[in-house]
């Protein structure tokens, strides 16, 4: 592609070396930032790591006045809200991707318009979803959705609580809205990378549109779609402001989906600056370190999966 002749002209080699050194330094800088993140978060939380050890992530007491900072309930809150978001967001996001890559070619106008509307979802800042969630969605969930769920599904522990609005379920719904564009955009790229010969072979056997998608396209794109899902998960785990508005901010272990909870991210924002003692600062930075490691693992796997699907084909144009 950009494979230029290896032997450089002597007249240009000095300028070439300078340019390569300068832009190479910028490329090194990108790596340095990630390394710096890990190092600084570890050093900033050292006091807390020393004090609580492994108890930090297994214990469930968060008591600033007594200087006890354990985060298990918040890890639980992050996992529950993210799982809800994937449960709702994956089918919808994948549906949008299928619409955009498999059908929009034929549906003109409306299809393209809907597609770019979904993309716009990603452009809305998360703090605005938070504001909307708090002032519009929360009352709606409290008045209509949650009483209904409680009436019909209250016999399960999941919905056995007083409807409050500010809770894990509402946070899950807001997160769903926010991860749909991630899942749909990446899945669409992956589906577009499926060679057309796959589809043509299936059509030539007399398959319907859906059978082509289901049997020839989706299996081929499986690992990429999995990657898109994990990217969505990464976004849900790291999402901060929107969740902070609606999750209810209660430090106890949540007892149902409609009880208030806390996530790792909202804990940081909400507790920040409430005290100035070094241990609580270190504890909040350690929460960031836990998030850092979660995000590193999640994004690493997602990127490997998505890259394998799209990188090789993307620039062939």
């Amino acid at each position: 592609m950009t494979a230029l002749p290896k032997e450089k002209r002597s007249s240009g080699s000095k300028g070439d070396l300078v340019l390569k050194a300068v832009v190479g330094a910028a490329a090194v800088g990108v790596i340095a930032i990630l390394v710096g993140l890990g190092v600084e978060l570890t050093s900033g939380s050292w006091l807390s790591i020393k004090t609580f050890g492994l108890g930090f992530i297994t214990g469930s007491t968060w008591n600033p006045p007594r200087d006890i900072f354990n985060v298990f309930p918040f890890i639980l809150g992050t996992l529950i809200t993210s799982a809800l978001a994937l449960l709702f967001g994956l089918p919808i996001g994948l549906g949008v991707a299928i619409f955009l890559s498999e059908r929009a070619g034929r549906a003109r106008g409306l299809g393209a318009a809907l597609g770019s509307l979904v993309e716009l979802l990603a452009a809305v800042p998360s703090v605005i979803y938070g504001l909307w969630g708090l002032l519009v969605l929360v009352p709606f969930m409290r008045e209509y959705v949650e009483p209904t769920l409680k009436t019909y599904l209250g016999f399960t522990q999941l919905f056995n609580a007083a409807p409050f609005g500010l809770d894990l379920l509402t946070a899950g719904v807001v997160l769903t809205i926010m991860i749909i564009p991630t899942i749909s955009a990446v899945s669409r790229d992956v589906l577009n990378a499926v060679p057309n010969s796959q589809r043509e072979a299936m059509y030539s056997l007399g398959a319907t549109d859906w059978e082509v998608t289901r049997k020839a396209v989706l299996p081929y794109a499986r690992s990429g779609i999995f990657g898109a899902t994990i990217l969505g998960l990464g976004r849900a785990v790291g999402e901060t402001m929107a969740v902070t508005f609606v999750v209810g901010n209660a430090t106890a272990i949540p007892t149902s989906l409609i009880s208030p909870g806390y996530t790792l991210t909202s804990l940081i924002v909400n507790q920040f600056g409430t005290t100035t003692d070094p241990l609580s600062d270190a504890a909040l930075v350690e929460v960031g370190l836990v998030l850092f490691m979660l995000a590193l693992v999640i994004n690493f796997f997602a990127r490997v999966l998505v890259w394998r699907m799209t990188r090789s084909t993307k620039f062939r144009v």
Binding site: V30, L34, V127
Partner: protein, 302 residues
């Protein structure tokens, strides 16, 4: 004969199933679009009453009871001047840091793609682009806020710059890679050295893509809230220095939106949200003007 009959029924069922699945796919699109419509509708409907000329020239109001608001007390009305100035200051500084570094890294990814550093850095860049921004905020908190012992515009701008960097780098790479190889070869064949080729030919051909990346990065930074909470803090006045707490529009939305039952605070938050959305819309429209269809893929990446 029964087998023919069964085949016919199966064919029928396949067609119906095809229709059902197509319907479900369209339903998914409709469900995905509904929240966007609702959010935009509410932001416009609730935000418009807040927008007056004063809204852009005054600092946020004190909390007011409904009685005070009804009596028309002047202290109940305010705006987002401190946020506008703070946001412009911090996003501007962040752009100055992120653009040179990001464009540099992007040039390296696109022009030296075979090198090991390119692979490693480009992969890191993708990971960084999806990173929880609150962890980036905490990184800067430890690095700058704890050292200087104050929340500041410098700390806020640095965290925003780290958020912008991967976006600029990625879009630079993608738009430079779209420049035809033949152009590079033609230039090199004329004896023009590679660095001059890159500056004069490659970058100037790919510049609309570069501009797109920068605008997208600015849009992203302007809406970021979480990292600013732990780096820039808040001050109810416009910034007068670089090393003092600095307000921003998103922080105002957070602070006044969660500010309890004061109606004038909620109104301020909705108004700030509307201002932010309009700003985003302008940036997105500029992107649409800058880019042709060939950059459509670049957008989806972010």
């Amino acid at each position: 004969m029964t087998s023919i009959n069964q085949t016919g029924r199966r064919q029928e069922w396949r067609r119906v199933f095809d229709r059902i699945m197509k319907g479900l796919v369209i339903l998914a699109v409709v469900i995905a679009v509904i929240p966007l419509v609702l959010v935009v509708w509410d932001v416009v409907a609730q935000g418009l009453p807040a927008i007056t000329l004063n809204f852009f020239t005054h600092n946020p109001p004190s909390p007011c009871s409904t009685g005070q608001i009804a009596s028309g007390s002047a202290m109940c009305w305010g705006g987002i001047l401190n946020g506008i100035e703070g946001s412009f200051l911090m996003v501007g500084m962040a752009t100055l840091i992120a653009v040179p570094v990001g464009v540099g890294a992007g040039i390296y990814f696109s022009e030296w793609p075979e090198s090991r550093l390119s692979f490693l850095s480009s992969f890191t860049n993708d990971v960084l682009a999806e990173f929880p921004t609150i962890t980036i905020g905490l990184f800067i908190f430890v690095l700058i806020v704890e050292t200087t012992r104050t929340f500041s515009a410098v700390a806020g701008a640095t965290s925003l710059a780290i958020i912008m960097l991967p976006i600029v780098a990625r879009t630079t790479e993608e738009s430079l890679k779209l420049v035809p190889t033949t152009l590079r070869e033609a230039s090199m064949a004329l004896g023009i050295p590679r660095w001059k080729t890159i500056f004069r030919i490659v970058i100037s051909t790919g510049r609309s893509g570069l501009a797109t990346g920068i605008l997208l990065a600015i849009a992203r930074a302007a809406g970021e809230t979480a990292p600013l909470v732990v780096t820039a803090g808040y001050l109810n006045f416009p910034p007068t220095g670089l090393f003092q707490p600095t307000a921003s529009i998103p922080y105002i939305i957070y602070n006044f939106g969660t500010g309890g039952d004061y109606a004038n605070w909620t109104t301020t938050a909705w108004g700030a949200a509307l201002a932010l959305v309009v700003f985003m819309l302008i940036l997105n429209l500029s992107v649409k003007l800058f880019i042709g269809r060939k950059f459509a893929g670049v957008r989806a990446e972010i």
